[in-house]
């Protein structure tokens, strides 16, 4: 019973995580919800987990729950990767702004010099 409550709390945490993720990565949010609901179902109806585990050749219902956790971990890993990509996009925008501002400053100072360069057009 203690294990069931503990797993339930963790799976509810996954559901919360799914909700916060949904806006940025809908597919990750959806997969997290499916995996967490799947986990909750098997935690509270272990007989079904055992039956399904036998059917798919896993052996024990508890292994099926473990596999569900592995699946959830992989989904979260994928989400972390996507978040890193988003961060990189922000860094890119920032770096681009700095680079273009520097180039504009350089062009402005060049054209301010007597006989200096012309502004760029492409």
């Amino acid at each position: 019973m203690i294990a069931q409550l503990l797993l339930t709390a963790m799976l509810f945490a996954i559901l919360l995580y799914a909700q916060t993720t949904y806006r940025q990565a809908p597919i990750i949010g959806f997969l997290s919800v499916v995996a967490a609901c799947w986990g909750l179902y098997f935690v509270w109806i272990p007989a079904h987990a055992s039956r399904l585990a036998e059917l798919v050749g896993i052996g024990r219902g508890v292994d099926l729950i473990l596999y569900t956790w592995v699946m959830i971990s992989l989904i979260m890993l994928l989400n972390l990767h996507l978040k890193l990509r988003s961060q990189l996009e922000l860094i890119t925008l920032l770096a681009r702004k700095i680079a273009i501002a520097d180039a504009n400053d350089q062009l402005a100072s060049l054209s301010a010099e007597p006989g200096g360069g012309q502004p760029a057009e492409g």
Binding site: A25, A95, I100, A103, E121, G122
Partner: protein
């Protein structure tokens, strides 16, 4: 043009392209060698990324800069010396002649020099994949030599920083609904450019990048 550690060749490439274009803009993508100084000495306007971000990011920086400075036509050009500056006129003419917003260089309509058979196979596979995913009727999907009008360039917003930008730009061209044409160009492979070129592993990573991009907003 986007350049990363191209010091051995960039001055020659800039000198060639200067003869064919009003302005040459080089985005030095965080090079650790003298790329930026060589390009500037050869007469290019140099924009320096503070860190290495990738060719796609550098091209978008160049496009944003050119648009901000009132460019009417923008030509993207590889910095490794495999493109010919003499092809630029053909691309720009094609825009005007056909009323298109994008003129895409095609080595398979034009010519290749020293193209290894395995690279040819990889390029054919990439073209097939791009045709299937974008619906564009093109013969060369990963050619960095292309021209675009101001209107076309303003529809390009590359978010693929690395090599997948070549596919992303075609997706955005298809999504824009603007007219595109293909123009024959010649690509000359050298030992230098081949060393910097893409491999089968890169092609797989490009597909994964394109897939990952679709998973988040």
């Amino acid at each position: 043009m986007a350049a990363y550690n191209e010091a051995p060749v960039i001055a020659g490439v800039v000198a060639d392209t200067k003869a064919a274009a009003d302005r040459v803009v080089v985005v030095d993508d965080g090079s650790s060698d003298a790329t930026a100084d060589s390009a500037a000495a050869a007469g290019a306007i140099v924009i320096r990324h503070p860190v290495n971000l990738g060719q796609g990011a550098a091209l978008q920086t160049a496009i944003d800069f050119a648009l901000a400075h009132g460019a009417d036509v923008i030509v993207t050009f590889d910095a490794d010396g495999q493109h010919r500056a003499s092809d630029i006129a053909g691309l720009v003419e094609a825009l005007a002649r056909d009323g298109a917003d994008f003129a895409l260089g095609s080595r398979f309509l034009g010519g290749t020099i020293n193209l290894p058979p395995n690279r040819r196979l990889l390029l054919r596979a990439a073209t097939w994949f791009t045709r299937a995913t974008t619906g564009l009727s093109i013969t060369d999907s990963h050619n960095g030599l292309r021209a675009m009008t101001r209107r076309g360039a303003s529809r390009i917003h590359l978010r693929q920083n690395r090599m997948a930008h070549a596919s992303e730009i075609l997706h955005q061209i298809a999504a824009s609904g603007l007219k595109y044409v293909e123009t024959p160009v010649t690509i000359q492979y050298t030992a230098y450019s081949l060393r910097k070129g893409q491999t089968l592993v890169d092609a797989i990573l490009i597909i994964l990048d394109l897939f990952a991009r679709r998973l988040h907003r």
